[in-house]
Amino acid sequence: MGRPRRVYRQGDLVLIEEMVLDLDPAVKEGEALVIASENGNRHRLASPVYTVYGRRYVVVEKPSVLTHPQHPELVVEPGIYRVEFVRDFALNRAVD
């Protein structure tokens, strides 16, 4: 078995590491991941964000800090992470 897949969760935001991902069809969305939460605060990660076939990925090249005013900081290790949100069966999709 290889090393474990990293999953980071900060509040409703979930980053799931992709072990293999072809970034050729990727479209760059921005230089940083900024996600507004319901109460107006924002999750921030200073790493470029790409969209691949409608899914968002953040490419972390060096250890970077995921911040949110109400949550402790998380140091995200280098890797490609899929941006997800917690899901709810009643709402039939992610709560974003």
Binding site: R6, Q10, H71, V86, L91
Partner: protein, 307 residues
């Protein structure tokens, strides 16, 4: 499971004349047609000489029986349905049972009697098993409430006595939900309440949403499991209808939690297939790391880092 022709069957009483039937002048007869799965195949083999017509269409063979066979096939269908539940979808056992029953009779009327008796017996055994299951489930859920009493008292005090909001109709419910949630979430909860109400929602407190006039005497919310860490506390809750003091229908399963950093309550519904799974596993479903049955979605081990 198995080959399609063995596991599936359907039949119907029909007075629609097919072109094939018309050619044979079957204008004014009721016909019993069956797509012959194994159970019906047993009977067709037994009563094959009674067919009034048979033909091939689209690679299948169709047999046409006279109307007197309808009760026989109907009884077989009901028996198969019940046996399938009784033997927990072990189709081989179902077929063996049908074989045995079919061997005990010779005429159509006798077979209807024999199969009806088998059906009553199978239904009784199945109902007894269901009753035992309901009793065990109710005992388990009541035990869970006791086990998690401390967590509920500390973090979710409203749960034992939630505010009840009655609504007139779906529009009224959605209008209320829009005051608490975004439009999309309000629409989602409205649809969920229409299918599985009464439901609860959590914002600053816990609110039970029930349609006006909907009795709540037979509705209970159980806490089946709980967990607390430095950053959150969660309780797995089960909304269920009870009958004669026992749970007979689980309407929904949800994870009620509190984020201890933001002091914000949260409630996420999970599939009812997770009704008997641990609260922490339900949390992994919410994070998208396990499927609806609690199986991991990723082959690798996971390192979950949270804040």
């Amino acid at each position: 499971m198995g080959e399609a022709y063995r596991r599936s069957y359907e039949f119907f009483l029909s007075d629609v004349v097919t072109s094939s039937g018309a050619k044979k002048r079957f204008y004014n007869v009721f016909r019993v047609e069956g797509f012959l799965g194994y159970p019906l195949r047993v009977l067709v083999a037994k009563f094959g000489s009674y067919t009034i017509h048979s033909y091939r269409f689209s690679g299948r063979r169709y047999y046409v029986f006279s109307e007197e066979f309808y009760p026989l096939f109907e009884t077989v269908a009901r028996l198969v349905y019940t046996l399938n539940k009784l033997y927990r979808r072990d189709i081989e056992k179902v077929f063996q049972h049908i074989d045995r029953a079919a061997n005990l009779c010779s005429s159509v009327a006798q077979c209807v009697d024999t199969l009806s008796r088998e059906l009553s017996r199978a239904e009784r055994i199945y109902e007894e098993r269901v009753a035992r299951g309901r009793k065990a489930l109710t005992a388990r859920l009541k035990k869970g409430v006791e086990r998690c009493r401390d967590v509920v008292e500390r973090f979710f005090r409203d749960l034992s006595n939630p505010h009840i909001r009655r609504y007139k109709d779906s529009e009224d419910l959605e209008a209320f939900l829009r005051k608490l949630f975004s439009d999309r979430v309000a629409r989602g909860y409205r649809r969920f309440a229409e299918a599985r109400g009464p439901i609860i929602v959590a914002r600053d407190g816990i609110v039970l949403l029930a349609r006006e006039g909907e009795p709540l005497d037979s509705f209970s919310i159980y806490v089946d499991g709980c967990s607390a860490s430095a950053s959150y506390a969660i309780a797995k809750i089960v909304g269920a209808e009870t009958l004669n003091g026992y749970v007979y229908r689980i309407k929904w399963v949800a994870l009620l939690g509190i984020d201890l950093y933001t002091n914000q309550l949260f409630l996420h519904y999970v599939p009812t297939t997770l009704a008997l799974r641990r609260a922490e596993l339900c949390r992994l479903w919410i994070l998208g790391l396990v499927d609806d049955f609690g199986k991991p979605l990723y082959r690798e081990d996971l390192a979950l880092i949270e804040a």
